[in-house]
Every structure is written in C-alpha cells, then in structure tokens.
C-alpha cells in the first residue's frame, strides 16, 4: 500500500481543523537558567471536528491531550501549526483579536473543585461570560443565568450560592452552564468526568449528549476512559507521546483496532465480563520521556512488532480502511 501522509479527515462540514500543531515547553536548568532542552508535549497533531459531532481524544497521562485542547482555545500559545476555525486561521491571533472568538469555543475542566472561583457566587461566575460579551443589562443577565442553570438541570436558586455548597457533579453542571453562557459552537471537554463517581458520570454524559442534540454543539472530548469515549464520540483519535497514532470512526476503532498501541489500550480497558481476559498482549516498559523522545516511531520502545525501519524515519499516516488512519508501517 502506498503511504499517504494526510490530515485526519476531510469533509466540507468542518468546524475546526488543526494542522501540524506543535507545542514544546522549554526546560531551563542550572544557575544561569540556560535552555537545557524542550519537552515535546505536542509534536505535530492533525485533527478535524465536524459541525455537531464529537471527536474523542484518548491517551495515557502526559501524552499531550490537554495541551492540545488548551492550544485550540489559545490558552496555551502553540509553537507551530495551524488552527483553522470556521475557515479562519487563529493560531497567530493576538489576545485582542481572539476576543470575538471567545464566544465560539469554550472549555470544561476535569477538577470540579478548582474550576469555580471559591469567592464568587455561582451566578456571578456564570455571568462573567455574559459581561465579557457586553451584555450590560443586569436583569437580562440574571434571567439568562437562570435559563442556563435550568438547562443543565440545576435549581435557579443556586445562583446566589457559593461553590463549596455543591457536590462535584453539581459543580460540573455549573461549569457546563458557564461554558454555555456565551453560546459556543465548540466545547473542549478536558476529562470532564474522570473526577466524578460512576453514577454522576452517567448523568453528566447524558447531559452533554442532550445539550449536543439541543444546541448542535461540537465536542472535543478528551479522556482516558475508552468506554465513555466510545459511547460519546463519532470519531476517536488515539494519542501517544504528543502524536496521534490512530484515528477511526468510533465503532470501527473498537471493533478493528490496528495500531499495536490502540490494541494494548483496548485490552487494558475494563470489560463487564470478568472472565474475558482480552485478546491482546499488555505492554511492558514505560512511556519514554517527552524531553528526549526516540527518533522514528514514538512507540518503538514498547511495540511488540518493532522492526529496524521503525527506528529510522518518522512515520506518516496509512489509510487501510475508509476514514481509518494508522501511523504504522504495517498497513
């Protein structure tokens, strides 16, 4: 098969397109704080999110998932690559030029305790988005806050209360209401459920699903929980050490994982049947340091199928099936 080095998906209905996104964090060492090297947190990521769809982004801790999410919102300044939102390249925009786009993209956080200002009432926290958008009329803002609270399934009386009076799941709902306050089209969900109880997780997932159906939202759903991602997402991208290893429509990826890393991930995910030991081998070894990643395929050190050529050149994407892309020679 001919190697085909392309972005991950292409269709006309694109909301967000990320091309070759890179973010290296400099590391300073020693007395004079000399530049000792760079941590390659994100090393060339291509993504595409269609209008009204959900892209799942999975990978283990430290693989750069969150950095991708925050770079897209320009909360972290990317070093290289393009972020094209609705046809406009936003990667070079200044803070001021970003302001109109702030109403388009929002983020939900993992930690429901750190994501709300402890000294601000819920209402004020949600109002901040409306204020920033220039809604001057106080009565209008209050009314909108009540609407938003209802939309996420909270009592409207919650607006006058402080974050510590709520449970984790309720706070997560408030975080969602805050993100919705500016009527965004895209929401980056940065592991929104991994800090919650399983029963609450289900509630939040259903809430996200309902909101998507109601408001036509698009999600970039970052998580390490494969089951949840599989349930929520239309497409799933698997990330390892700053690069995307495999991309496929959700069902295809779960039924027919091709990349050895994806296979290992899926075999490690808990299954409802206790006697099902899984069909793929588990991995040995550790993730190499992003400070000094190996040349060639990032996965070579742990790959059961490693060959000499894996250690030499960077590998592009191969497309063995319709919309199914793999960063591996084998296909």
């Amino acid at each position: 098969m001919k190697p085909e080095v392309v972005g991950i998906n292409s269709s006309n209905n694109t909301l967000l397109r990320v091309e070759g996104l890179k973010k290296y964090f400099p590391v300073h060492r020693g007395f004079l704080q000399r530049l000792a090297g760079r941590i390659k947190a994100v090393d060339g990521v291509d993504l595409e999110i269609e209008l009204g769809s959900t892209l799942g982004l999975v990978g283990e801790s430290g693989c750069g998932k969150s950095t991708v999410g925050r770079s897209i919102l320009k909360l972290i300044e990317p070093d290289e690559g393009k972020i094209i939102y609705g046809g406009q390249d936003i990667s070079g925009l200044s803070r001021h030029e970003m302001k109109p786009l702030r109403t388009e993209m929002q983020i939900i956080f993992q930690d429901p305790f750190g994501s709300l200002n402890p000294r601000m009432t819920i209402g004020t926290s949600i109002e901040e988005g409306l204020r920033a958008r220039g809604v001057r009329d106080r009565a209008k803002r209050t009314k909108r806050v009540e609407e938003l609270l209802e939309m996420v399934g909270m009592a409207t009386g919650a607006a006058d209360r402080y974050p510590h009076e709520f449970s984790g799941g309720q706070r997560q709902r408030i975080g969602i209401a805050r993100a919705l306050s500016v009527e965004p089209s895209l929401i980056v969900c940065d592991e929104p459920i991994s800090a919650l109880d399983v029963s609450i997780q289900a509630q939040i997932i259903n809430l996200l699903n309902d909101l998507q159906a109601q408001l036509g939202l698009s999600y970039l759903f970052i998580s390490h929980d494969l089951n949840v991602v599989g349930y929520l997402s239309d497409g799933v991208a698997v990330m390892y050490l700053g690069q995307i290893m495999e991309y496929a429509p959700a069902q295809e990826l779960y039924e027919n994982p091709l990349h050895p890393y994806t296979q290992a991930l899926l075999s490690a995910a808990p299954r409802p049947e206790p006697n099902d030991r899984g069909q793929w081998a588990t991995l040995s070894g550790d993730v190499p340091s992003p400070f000094n990643p190996p040349p060639g395929c990032k996965f070579q050190g742990r790959c059961p199928l490693v060959e000499d050529r894996c250690r030499e050149a960077e590998i592009g994407f191969y497309e063995p099936g319709q919309g199914h892309k793999v960063r591996c020679w084998k296909f």
Binding site: G114, S115, D160, E165, A202
Partner: protein, 391 residues
C-alpha cells in the same frame, strides 16, 4: 444506556433538591460578624478611639485650646496619674481643664492626658494612611509580578527606558540640549515600538535587529529584584534620607512610611497569585474573554488578600512606632505637637521615676493595634464564603 425518560427523571431529582430561603449577602455578613464577639469588641473599641481622637483634635487645636497640651508647668513636673494640681502655685490659665492630671504630667509638667488626646489623631492617621499606601502599592506590584510575571522585557525596551530616564536626568541637571535630544530619541523609538506592535503580530523587526529583540529580563525578575533591593536598605535609614530631603510634616511621614513598607505585601500577593494563576477558574475566565484587569482584581485578588490583611494589622503598629522613632530623632512631627510616639520616647528616660509616661501611650498603641487585629480577623472570616452558613 439511559433512556430519555430516565434522563429527565434525573433532572427532576436535582431540581427538587430543597434550597432554604436565602438571606441577602449583607445580612449574612452581619450575622456572621456578630457571632464573633471579639471582632465586635475590636470594632467598638476602635470606633471609640476614633471618636476620642476626633474630639481630641478639636479640644487641643487653636490658639487658646480648652486643653492645652503644650502648657509647661515646671513646678508640677512628673506628677503621677490622678494627682490633683497644686492650686497655690498655678496661675488660673495653667490649671488643667479636668481639674485633675488624669494621666499625670511629664518632665516639663505638661498634662499627659491632653497630649495623648492631641497625639491620638496623628498616630491613628499615620498608622492607617501609611499602611493603606503600602498595601495598595503592595497589591498592585504583587499582582503585576504574579500575573504578568512571565512577560519579557526585550533589550530594545530597556534601551528605550534608559534613554528616557537619562534624558530626564540630563534636563534636571540643566544640560538641556543633550537631555532633550536623548529624551526625544527615546520617545521616537517608543512610538516606533508601539506602532510596530499594533501593525503586525509577527515579532520580526528589520533585519539585524535580532539582538535588540532578545528577551532581557522578565517582569517578575524586575519587580522582585526591586523588592529585594528595597529590603536590603535598613528601612529606617531610607526613611531618614527621604525625610531629610522633604520638609517634615505629618503627611510626608505617612507617605514615606507607606512607600518604604510595601515589600511584604508584594511578596504575599505574588506568592498567592503564582498558585492562583494556574487554577482552572482563572483559565476559565480567560477562555470566556474576561479582561486581564478584571481577572486580577475580581477573580484572583479576593482569593489572595487574606494574608495581606493580617500583615496589614501588624503593619499599623509598626507604622505608629516608626513615626515614634522618627519623632524621637527630631525628624517626625515637629516637637511641640504631641504624638503617641514622641510621648513614649520622651518618657523612656524616666521609666523608673515616672512609668506612666511610657505605659499610657504604650497601652494606647497596644489597644488600638489589638482591636484592629481582632476586627481584621473577624472581617476576614466573615468575608470567607466557606464559613457562611446559608442552608
């Protein structure tokens, strides 16, 4: 997976959660403050002192005051508190207004009660204004260092600043031609920098300017090294230097004490900001497009202010005592005027013969500081939403 019906049931359950009737925030603040007995005592004491100081200001001011704090009666010197004046040796104008030396007299026979009244206003205002100035500067500098700390000054920024400062310096030193040329050059360059920054996002200047565009030092480094430099000077000597240049008046002293004691607050605020900056709620505010100023003062400052409030209450005592030290050295409030500080320092030569000269102002300072401290602590707790009970 969950059906739509189950989903809506989940929502119903959440909506049904009982919420107690809600008091307004002010009501809640007062009820919480009232529960803290000590804080209320602190507030009441402080208000009493404030009114005493205010009446003292009227009773002791003017050419012919009701209670004259500078009336010298050498025959009545070092009388203990509650002593009756010896009517035989006093002229009628010299008899104290209360008919009794409430707090005794000092080594010149001046009525300590009248002097305390006169000094109260000065000492209280010195304490509060000086601490107010230092806290304001501290919050501002700490906020900038903590929030914008990672921004870099480039070498050309520094050169521009240098040109401007040297230009102004030369003009002040009466070298007008060179001073103006340097200043104008700096101004032009500054203008150029601003224009270029607005025009494009790319940081590329003309070729060969690469060296000038190198990052030289960060905002955080600049501010915190300046703090370190200020801390290196013994602050009292620094104050003396400035006072020597400026005319001695109460207001100059307040300002100077304020300007030399902001470093602690800066460090507190910066330290808090460094940890707050990484919290998700700040990121969320940035994602919503909230302005930098609003993020600093509305979102982060309320979470960072507690340690500053506590150190400010102690700072008030320090400011009162610093003023006392300055008065003692003759740099403070000019002599006939009494302050708690100079009563204290004048009296320390007689501490065994006339202990009331040190104890009376000492206790007054202690009570003011203590009451403010207790009130400050109560205020801090009452403002903390976690301690409010709203359910």
């Amino acid at each position: 997976m969950t059906t739509a019906i189950e989903q809506s049931m989940n929502n119903e359950i959440l909506l049904d959660e009982p919420l107690a009737p809600k008091r307004t925030r002010r009501q809640e603040f007062w009820s919480l403050l009232r529960k803290n007995r000590l804080a209320i005592w602190g507030l009441v004491t402080f208000i009493i002192f404030f009114f005493v100081a205010l009446t003292g200001l009227f009773l002791t001011a003017g050419t012919n005051p009701i209670m004259d704090p500078s009336m010298v009666r050498l025959q009545e010197k070092l009388r203990p508190p509650m002593a009756r004046p010896n009517m035989d040796t006093l002229k009628s104008v010299e008899i104290p207004a209360l008919g009794i030396y409430l707090f005794g007299t000092d080594d010149l026979g001046r009525d300590v009660f009248a002097r305390m009244l006169q000094g109260a206003w000065v000492s209280l205002t010195v304490g509060f204004v000086a601490v107010g100035i230092s806290v304001l500067i501290g919050i501002f500098m700490g906020g900038i260092a903590g929030y914008f700390g990672e921004r870099q000054f480039r070498i050309d920024h520094l050169i521009v600043a240098g040109l401007l400062i040297i230009g102004i310096g030369l003009v002040i030193a009466n070298i007008y031609v060179w001073g103006n040329i340097t200043f104008l050059a700096g101004l032009l360059w500054l203008f150029d920098l601003i224009v270029r920054r607005k025009r494009s996002n790319t940081r590329r200047g003309p070729t060969g300017a690469g060296l000038l565009q190198k990052n030289a030092l960060s905002v955080d480094t600049l501010i915190m090294r300046f703090v370190d430099i200020m801390l290196c000077f013994p602050s009292f000597i620094l104050i003396l230097t400035v006072i020597a240049i400026l005319p001695a008046s109460i207001y100059n002293i307040m300002i100077v004490i304020g300007l030399t004691s902001w470093m602690g607050a800066t460090r507190f605020v910066r330290a808090e900001f460094l940890s707050l900056r990484e919290q998700d709620f700040v990121t969320a505010a940035r994602a919503l497009g909230v302005g930098n100023f609003r993020i600093i003062f509305r979102h982060m400052m309320p979470n960072a202010i507690a340690p500053v409030l506590v150190s400010a209450t102690i700072g008030i005592a320090t400011a009162i005592l610093t003023e006392a030290g300055l008065s003692f050295l003759g740099f403070g409030v000019p002599p006939p005027h009494a302050t708690w500080g100079n009563i204290l320092s004048d009296g320390k030569g007689f501490i065994f013969d006339a202990p009331w000269l040190t104890f009376v102002p000492g206790f007054a300072i202690l009570i003011v500081v203590l009451s403010f401290n207790l009130f400050g602590e109560g205020l801090r707790d009452a403002l903390n939403p976690k301690l409010r009970e709203g359910r």
